[in-house]
């Protein structure tokens, strides 16, 4: 980024007439950084999935290979979206979101249910989780909403976008999928915060409550009576462990903690290999990784995610217009929410609400969607305001 920074305002002023046309450039250092970071995280994810599922050899087509296939599909989406001008996407924003809502309705009516929740739609041999796809359409829809016109006042800044978000949120909550519906909510709050509401106090309250929530939830939850919890949980999601104090939470903490500084090495994770911790390849993939690669490995992984977020924010800051910036913020917000909440729940800082770790957890829909979202991010980057090269 240093390269670009030198004398840039001058260059841009000079090139301003040309810049009326949308520019498209080759890859530069930042783009390559982004791609490198993403590939590294994907690789670590496949490695962990491989390690978890290697001991169960019943499947003809192993899960880690399936994940590789999904990454392939996701990469295609990444590539297509990165090459597409994001303004084109914007034109169909509401249509996409509308279709998404209809599909969510379909899930409730005709979806596949598994373990008490109805979240999937069978598409030939694969089961698709539409809530993942709807997340991206929400990012685009809200970004277009804020960018197309100046939105002033509470009504247009907070209430109307809230009403846009609400149907999706409720449809996902009804499945029930507490995790996905919370990330839906988080997307909305992130964009509201990014656009800013006039009251600083409001922003502070929302931001700080978002940050404090994971740490006080345990206390709040613990103070409820058993039957109250049962009522809430049967409403939300029968499979979750909201207190984070149950069996899964502890097994996850044991897995991570016992990794100590250096980790137990590939296949060395006894917690996982002996099946003390279920869902090792999905929601608890970070626990697998942390057990096998220790504090040092975890640190590397956290750094990779931090790098991804910083690059994303950088792209938002350099975006050509409000739409680009909002899209970039939305994508980073979605990723960051997933990473922080997932890690917080595996280390016992947040309720276990069933949110997968972006780019690492096994899951076709989530992998494709996250890569597609990163494609949009790169598109913002590539269509930013600079000279033609």
């Amino acid at each position: 980024m240093d390269l670009l920074q030198k004398g840039k305002p001058l260059q841009m002023l000079l090139g301003s007439t040309n810049e009326r046309r949308r520019s498209e450039r080759g890859f530069d250092a930042i783009d390559w950084c982004l791609i490198g970071v993403v590939i590294s995280i994907l690789f670590l994810g496949v490695l962990s999935i491989y390690s978890v599922t290697s001991s169960t050899h019943q499947a003809r087509f192993p899960i880690y290979l399936k994940q590789v296939v999904w990454i392939g599909v996701g990469s295609l989406a990444f590539w297509i979206l990165a090459r597409t001008d994001y303004h084109k996407l914007a034109r169909f924003a509401y249509v996409f979101y509308g279709i998404g809502l209809i599909v969510l309705l379909l899930v409730l009516v005709a979806g596949k249910s598994s373990r008490g929740a109805q979240r999937w739609i069978a598409l030939g041999p694969v089961a698709v989780q539409p809530s993942e796809f709807v997340k991206v359409t929400l990012i685009v829809a809200l970004s277009v909403y804020y960018a197309s016109k100046a939105r002033h006042g509470w009504l247009y800044r907070v209430i109307v976008p809230g009403l846009i978000t609400l149907p999706g949120f409720l449809l996902i909550l009804k499945q029930p999928d507490l995790g996905s519906s919370l990330s839906f909510l988080a997307l909305y709050l992130t964009l509201v915060l990014a656009v800013g509401v006039k009251s600083k106090a409001f922003g502070l309250v929302v931001l700080s409550s978002l940050m404090v929530f994971p740490f006080v939830w345990g206390e709040v939850w613990g103070s409820l009576h058993d039957y109250q919890k049962a009522r809430i949980m049967s409403f939300m999601d029968p499979m979750s462990d909201p207190g984070g104090t149950g069996y899964h939470g502890l097994q996850s903490r044991i897995a991570i903690g016992s990794g100590q500084l250096w980790g137990k090495g590939l296949y060395g994770g006894t917690q996982i290999q002996f099946k003390f911790l279920p869902e090792g390849h999905t929601d608890f993939v970070f626990a697998v990784f942390a057990e096998e690669w220790g504090f040092l490995g975890s640190l590397v992984l956290v750094m990779l995610f931090v790098a991804l977020f910083l690059l994303g924010f950088e792209i938002a800051a350099e975006a050509k217009d409000r739409l680009g910036a909002l899209l970039a913020i939305g994508v980073v917000g979605m990723m960051a929410f997933g990473v922080i909440v997932n890690m917080a729940m595996t280390v016992g800082l947040a309720p276990i609400v069933g949110i997968p770790l972006p780019l690492m957890s096994y899951g076709g829909s989530a992998t494709v969607v996250n890569l597609a979202a990163l494609g949009i991010l790169l598109s913002v980057r590539r269509h930013r305001l600079t000279l033609l090269q």
């Binding site: 920074q5 840039k8 305002p9 301003s16 100046a150 992130t190 915060l193 990014a194 656009v195 800013g196 922003g203 931001l207 978002l210 940050m211 049962a230 049967s234 149950g246 069996y247 899964h248 939470g249 502890l250 097994q251 903490r253 897995a255 991570i256 903690g257 016992s258 990794g259 100590q260 500084l261 006894t270 002996f274 099946k275 942390a290 220790g294 504090f295 975890s298 640190l299 956290v302 995610f305 931090v306 977020f309 910083l310 924010f313 938002a316 800051a317 350099e318 217009d321 409000r322 910036a325 909002l326 980073v332 917000g333 960051a336 922080i340 917080a344 280390v347 016992g348 800082l349 305001l385």
Partner: protein, 619 residues
């Protein structure tokens, strides 16, 4: 600052207001950035705490030196009758477990436990074989308080031995409804491999018979787990985490327990079965089979010798005669014959046939039960007097295939689909059937036997109850069922069971009232007089199922009981808008009119008296 530079740049293109907002947006990024970084920082700190500061502690836990995973069995769902009478619940009981990891010397432990509990050392040794990852095995359930105290006082010399308080299935009504409720038991090796029991572990209690078996998935609940820290002897020091078990859902049966109890008491020591249905919807009000068993005993686990005793009992107490007992229907089959004859226009209701007490067919003579015969009888009289010759003639005219078709329409020869395991289908014979099973052709004389419900035709009592229910319900057959409703734990709200809608047995039934009227006359002035009730008008049909063709001369005086005929009575009441239909079968009690009809009468009267009370009790 580059950002402001770009902002200026934008200003050249857009309005000032837009620009300032765009700039503002970019400045806000700083907040978001800081927020995300702070949270990531917290995560790193937490990882530091878990992996570096407490790493050694978690490593110990992970190495399983000090932790044991204990399965917490769920409480099974309760079973109620239709009025909420409790039929099955759970009581606490002490079970003895051994954690194989903590046993230094297995042979020594077998000796010690053998003397303390008086258990056969050989069975103990096989139970203590390690299987798979699971190392905590159940050795004995239902310890007495004395045994539990004995074990506890010897705990220092019994490393790895743990007493756990768990649930024991209990049937407060004792041996009543044993064949309906069934019993529970430890999951078998076979069951462990079946998909239905996926996710269950050794030692889990599952339904093995009856309703417990059919609705095991509903009643079972979900096991919880507890992670405990143990000392060197394997005794619990403290609980690290608990995942509570989820109790099974409750079930309401269609059974009316007072009727059920009366039915079983009426049968008493005799072998037999009584099935009572609500003809309008197929709900089973009572399903009794005697002799029975006490599900409490079977659920507590029997010794191999006790098992042998039950299995070798000549009276087969484990056979549910109501759904598994196959008997010739005898004269109760004439109901189906009458319907078939009218439906196919073989006879008209007014047509009279001559009965001289005997019917010659080929070289054989088929007798009527009444030596002198009934004279000239029409369909009504033939049913009322249970004239055999009339139905010999009708059967001969219709032929076996027509008879078989109508018998099958009434559900004979196939399972009724009652929600109990092990139901049998019975036989509706036909030339095809005989060729397939015996490889012999059908002889016309066999049609004559089938016409009065003898020969190859066999039915279960529940099938006959369904037949008479269909007649009572105007030709609509509602499949019998036992599940009334389920009450899930989470909502505590009753969810009614799906009812299968009634299907018509015959298309046009405008002549069915003729059969119904004849069945009413059977009770008022026919073979079923002993079922006559002053309380409620009853319709019915007697039947006597031949066990062996007896020649009177061979036995002087008493006929041995095992050779005597089975007594049938099928009935419904009241004659208009029937609310109960039932089949009574008493083995080896001779004529249905004398042995079975009085039982039906008592049951029906009790049912209506009881309902009257219930109606007057609820204002």
């Amino acid at each position: 600052m580059r950002n402001t530079g770009e902002g200026n740049m934008q200003g050249l293109m857009d309005s000032g207001r837009e620009t300032s907002e765009f700039t503002e947006l970019q400045q806000r990024l700083v907040f978001l950035k800081v927020g995300v970084m702070l949270l990531m920082g917290v995560l790193v700190l937490r990882l530091w705490q878990l992996q570096i500061l407490d790493g050694a502690y978690y490593r110990d836990l992970a190495q399983d030196n000090r932790t044991r995973s204990v399965v917490l069995q769920p409480a099974r769902g309760l079973i109620f009758d239709r009025h909420g009478v409790l039929l099955a619940n759970n009581v606490p009981s002490f079970n003895l477990y051994v954690d194989l990891k903590d046993v230094p010397d297995r042979a020594e432990l077998v000796r010690e436990l053998g003397t303390l509990l008086k258990v056969d050392p050989k069975t103990l040794a096989t139970k203590l074989q390690p299987r798979g990852v699971l190392t905590r095995v159940k050795v004995k359930s239902g310890l007495t308080l004395r045994e539990a105290a004995l074990i506890e006082s010897h705990r220092l010399s019994l490393p790895g031995v743990v007493i756990q308080a768990e649930y024991q299935r209990n049937y407060p009504v004792g041996a009543y409804a044993g064949h309906v409720l069934g019993y529970v038991g430890e999951i078998s090796e076979d069951q462990l491999r079946q998909k239905e029991y996926e996710g269950l572990i050794r030692g889990s209690i599952v339904g093995q018979y009856g309703i417990e078996r059919t609705y095991d998935r509903i009643l079972r609940g979900r096991a919880g787990r507890k992670l405990i820290e143990v000392d060197a002897l394997g005794h619990e020091k403290r609980t690290l985490s608990v995942e509570k078990p989820r109790a099974g859902d409750d079930i309401y049966l269609t059974i009316d327990f007072r009727l059920q109890k009366l039915a079983e008491d009426l049968l008493g020591e005799e072998a037999g079965a009584i099935v009572a249905l609500d003809p309008t919807n197929g709900e089973v009000l009572a399903l009794a089979s005697r002799p029975s068993f006490d599900p409490n005993q079977l659920s507590r686990g029997l010794s191999p010798r006790q098992w042998q005793a039950i299995l070798n009992d000549p009276r087969y107490p484990l056979t549910n005669r109501a759904i598994q007992g196959l008997y010739p229907p005898g004269s109760t089959f004439k109901i189906i014959m009458a319907v078939a004859a009218l439906a196919t226009d073989t006879v008209e209701g007014s047509d009279s046939l001559q009965c001289l007490g005997r019917y010659r067919f080929g070289r054989r003579i088929y007798r009527d039960w009444k030596p002198g015969g009934h004279g000239l009888v029409n369909l009504h009289q033939a049913l009322v007097q249970s004239c055999d010759v009339y139905f010999y003639k009708v059967g001969h005219r219709m032929g076996i295939n027509t008879i078989a078709t109508y018998a099958k329409r009434f559900g004979l020869g196939q399972k009724t689909g009652i929600d109990l395991p092990g139901e049998r289908a019975g036989i509706v014979p036909s030339p095809e059937w005989k060729q397939q099973t015996r490889g012999e052709p059908w002889y016309p004389g066999e049609t004559i036997s089938v016409s009065i419900g003898q020969g190859y035709v066999t039915v279960t009592p529940i099938q006959m109850a369904a037949v008479v229910a269909a007649v009572a319900n105007g030709g609509l057959a509602a499949p019998p069922r036992l599940l009334l409703a389920v009450r899930p734990r989470e909502t505590e709200r009753l969810v009614p069971a799906h009812s299968v809608s009634a299907k018509p047995v015959i298309q046009q039934a405008d002549w069915l009232p003729q059969v119904q009227a004849a069945l009413a006359s059977v009770v008022t002035n026919g073979t079923g007089k002993r079922a006559y009730s002053a309380v409620v008008p009853i319709a019915g049909k007697t039947g006597t199922a031949q066990v062996v063709a007896l020649r009177k001369r061979e036995y002087e005086g008493e006929v041995p009981k095992v050779l005597r005929d089975h007594a049938w009575f099928v009935a419904y009441a009241p004659t208009d808008h029937p609310r109960i239909a039932l089949a009574v079968l008493v083995e080896h009690m001779g004529h249905g009119g004398s042995a079975a009809a009085p039982l039906a009468k008592q049951l029906i009267e009790a049912y209506f008296q009881q309902n009257k009370e219930a109606v007057s009790a609820t204002p």
